[in-house]
């Protein structure tokens, strides 16, 4: 996909999204007009601003048609193949990081994420990979849970119980 096509698609998508926002406000039965004696109704702000978004998208489309924007004249690939791989893999990795957090907990999924990224994308040595893989969860635990008293997600009860033992140990040392 060239940058030129991408700009067209993006402007159309944003135009449709704006219409969608306007529809949502309208369908929620919010007052989109001026309420006499009270000023703007609860839907006026989001509705007319979305209308403005739609207008700005149309303006971009006109400029695209007339070839005013540099993007509309560019035939370079929107995302070159090499980048598609790197960016795609990264986004997918973060996606799985979040997905697995719900199942095996943040700490274990974080370790898998680091293993994947440092070892297989970065092609770093095993010792470096291992130290990052272990160092990061420990640092996170110390900073967020011990120092800042947060409770980060630990996944399903089975995986959570593993951490409860670690917690028990920590609280037995200091509380």
């Amino acid at each position: 996909m060239s940058v030129r096509t991408a700009e067209l698609f993006m402007a159309i998508a944003m135009f449709l999204a704006s219409l969608g926002l306007m529809w949502t406000v309208y369908a929620d039965d919010l007052a989109i007009g001026w309420v006499a004696g009270r000023g703007p109704g609860s839907g006026m702000w989001p509705f007319w601003l979305s209308f403005g978004m739609a207008g700005a998208s149309v303006w971009t489309l006109v400029r695209w048609y007339n070839g005013v924007t540099p993007e509309s004249r560019s035939d370079d690939p929107y995302i070159d193949p090499e980048t598609v791989f790197l960016v795609g893999v990264t986004v997918a990795a973060i996606f799985f990081l979040l997905l697995l957090t719900n199942i095996i907990g943040l700490y274990f999924s974080m370790m898998l994420f680091l293993l994947f990224y440092v070892k297989f994308i970065g092609k770093h040595s095993w010792p470096l990979t291992a130290s990052v893989m272990l160092g990061m969860p420990v640092a996170t635990y110390m900073l967020f849970e011990v120092a800042l008293n947060k409770y980060l997600p630990r996944g399903l009860p089975f995986f959570e119980s593993i951490f409860l033992h670690i917690d028990d140990f920590r609280y037995s040392l200091m509380y």
Binding site: V3, A6, E7, M10, M14, L21, T24, V25, D28, L30, W34, A36, G37, R38, G39, P40, G41, S42, G43, W45, P46, L49, S50, G52, M53, A56, S57, W59, T60, T69, P70, Y78, I79, T83, L86, V87, T90, V91, I94, F95, L97, L98, T101, L106, M110, F113, L114, Y117, V118, I121, G122, H124, L128, M136, T140, F144, L148, N149, K150, P153
Partner: protein, 506 residues
């Protein structure tokens, strides 16, 4: 005047007591690190460490928390500059120029400028605080919804020229930020708005940090990944004593915008509800408008780091004023400090200055000392912060991604927001590639809720009559300044052309 001086000396002496001095030091250090974590700002630090302070006397406790607040303000700049992720909303504007400076190997200059600007901003505002607390408190009371709205207009006016050169895309970016800000419950009508797909999670609204970390954390990292292909290291910088000296010589480049930012920041900070974020943004916008080479802003101009940093530190002191004298927090952090004071048995309000002078002056005295401690600590730690940039990108990037996820979760306690962050980050990246500027959207989501609410509150109280904004003097003045700022580029352009014509004619 004499009595203020005596009280101040007593306060300074109090802050030099060993326990209090230790509290200042610990607070600054803790704040610095908490602030430097993406997502964690002074709010989290103060909220989480509040119970710890029950162990010490109230004066020491507030000194600790105030020092933490200070330290976190600077820490936010550290992650803005080194990682390109604003640690808190107050540090968004610092990213605009701090990030490009770090990328071009000038991270040390940017960090130094941030430290010095913070120091100047903090010190100026403590001096103003010492001298003018009571009249400023009285002035803050005059600020009703009309004035708040006018102030927001003024804030938006300072952003003119902040967007890209593509006007419809800039407009689109501002508008989408304002619309996203409207998601969730509307307090005026009590009705839910824009609850996408009926998901209950949207009732809370889209938090600013989720968008900011999405765009500047995830989006920025992907962007860097694309440009470096994951292979190149980030820029490395040497940092030694000579570097400190040469960086200090640079101060003259940004001292003007630092002073402007300090006064502006303090003033905006003293107004309840405004806080440090609009102050920092306005300061950046003004520095750009009045700079001789405004075009270099956003590409690594050191004044673009100093302006928001001086303002956000000045505002953090300023926002203590409404808290102490009115019992109204000027920022979310002071809201929690307020809760702390009540627990310690202190009653913030109009009588606090006369009933608990030891506490108030101890706090003010500690602010002078905390400023000094923070700047020294900061400069000493710059080499450590810079070391982060020397890590291989394929190690640094995953660590940053994890910090983004943990940072968002730690702030809102919801996995939902981490998903939203990923989605918004990817959208931001795709749109940024097509020359849609992202900064206006981030600014709009910060200021949007306050703008809409104050507009509607004003109109409800005036029975729908828009003249209310012009009839009130303070709001009129703000609106006139806003109009002036918007037309300033046009006028100055016209004047330049005129002068050129005159010269040509001669």
């Amino acid at each position: 005047m004499d009595s203020i001086f005596n009280l101040l000396v007593a306060g300074l002496l109090q802050s030099f007591e060993p326990l209090n001095l230790a509290m200042i030091f610990l607070g600054c250090l803790a704040g610095l690190f908490i602030g430097a974590m993406p997502g964690l700002g002074s709010v989290n630090g103060v909220a989480i460490l509040l119970p710890v302070t029950f162990l010490v006397p109230p004066t020491s406790a507030i000194i600790f928390l105030a020092a933490l607040y200070y330290g976190a303000m600077y820490g936010g700049a550290v992650s803005s500059i080194t990682l390109g992720i604003p640690g808190a909303s107050t540090a968004v504007a610092t990213v605009f120029d701090g990030r490009p400076m770090a990328q071009s190997g000038r991270a040390d200059q940017a960090l130094m400028a941030a430290a010095i600007a913070s120091f100047v901003g903090g010190t100026i505002s403590v001096i103003l605080f010492t001298g003018f607390a009571p009249p400023l408190a009285a002035f803050a009371l005059k600020f009703g919804p009309q004035e708040e709205f006018a102030l927001m207009l003024l804030a938006f006016a300072t952003f003119i020229g902040l967007g890209g050169d593509d006007i419809p895309k800039t407009i689109f970016s501002i508008l989408i930020g304002l619309v996203l800000a409207a998601v969730g419950f509307d307090i005026i009508s009590g009705k839910p708005r824009l609850i996408f797909f009926g998901m209950v999670e949207f009732q809370r609204g889209i938090e600013f940090l989720v968008l900011a970390i999405g765009i500047y954390g995830i989006g920025e990292m992907i962007w860097t990944l694309e440009h470096t292909k994951g292979a190149v290291q980030m820029h490395k910088v040497d940092f030694g004593f000579d570097k400190v000296k040469s960086n200090l010589r640079q101060v003259k480049d940004y001292i003007g915008s630092t002073f402007l930012g300090s006064f502006l920041g303090f003033f905006v900070g003293t107004l309840p509800a405004a806080g440090a974020t609009p102050a920092a943004l306005m300061s950046y916008g003004l520095a750009k408008s009045f700079s001789k080479d405004g075009d270099s802003f956003g590409k690594g101009n050191v004044a673009g780091v100093a302006a928001p940093e001086s303002a956000n530190n000045a505002a953090s002191t300023g926002s203590m004023l409404p808290m102490l004298t009115l019992g109204i927090p000027g920022s979310p952090t002071t809201a929690i400090l307020l809760g702390g004071m009540i627990i310690w048995g202190l009653r913030p309000g109009p009588l606090l200055f006369s009933e608990s002078p030891d506490f108030v002056w101890g706090l003010i005295g500690s602010m002078y000392v905390a400023n000094f401690v923070t700047v020294v600590l900061n400069i000493a730690l710059i080499p450590i912060f810079i070391r982060v940039l020397a890590m291989p990108f394929t190690v640094l990037a995953p660590i940053i991604f994890i910090l983004c996820v943990v940072g968002v979760f730690a702030t809102t306690d919801r996995m939902f927001d981490t998903w939203l962050m990923l989605l918004l980050g990817c959208m931001g990246y795709l749109m940024r590639k097509l020359n849609y500027p992202v900064a206006p959207a981030v600014l709009a989501i910060v200021l949007g809720p306050l703008t809409e609410r104050s507009l509607r509150q004003s109109l409800i109280s005036s029975q729908g009559d828009p003249m209310t904004f012009i009839e009130r003097p303070i709001s009129l003045i703000c609106i006139l300044i806003a109009v002036g700022l918007v037309s300033y580029p046009a006028i100055s352009g016209f004047m330049k052309r005129r002068r050129a014509e005159m010269e040509a004619a001669e």
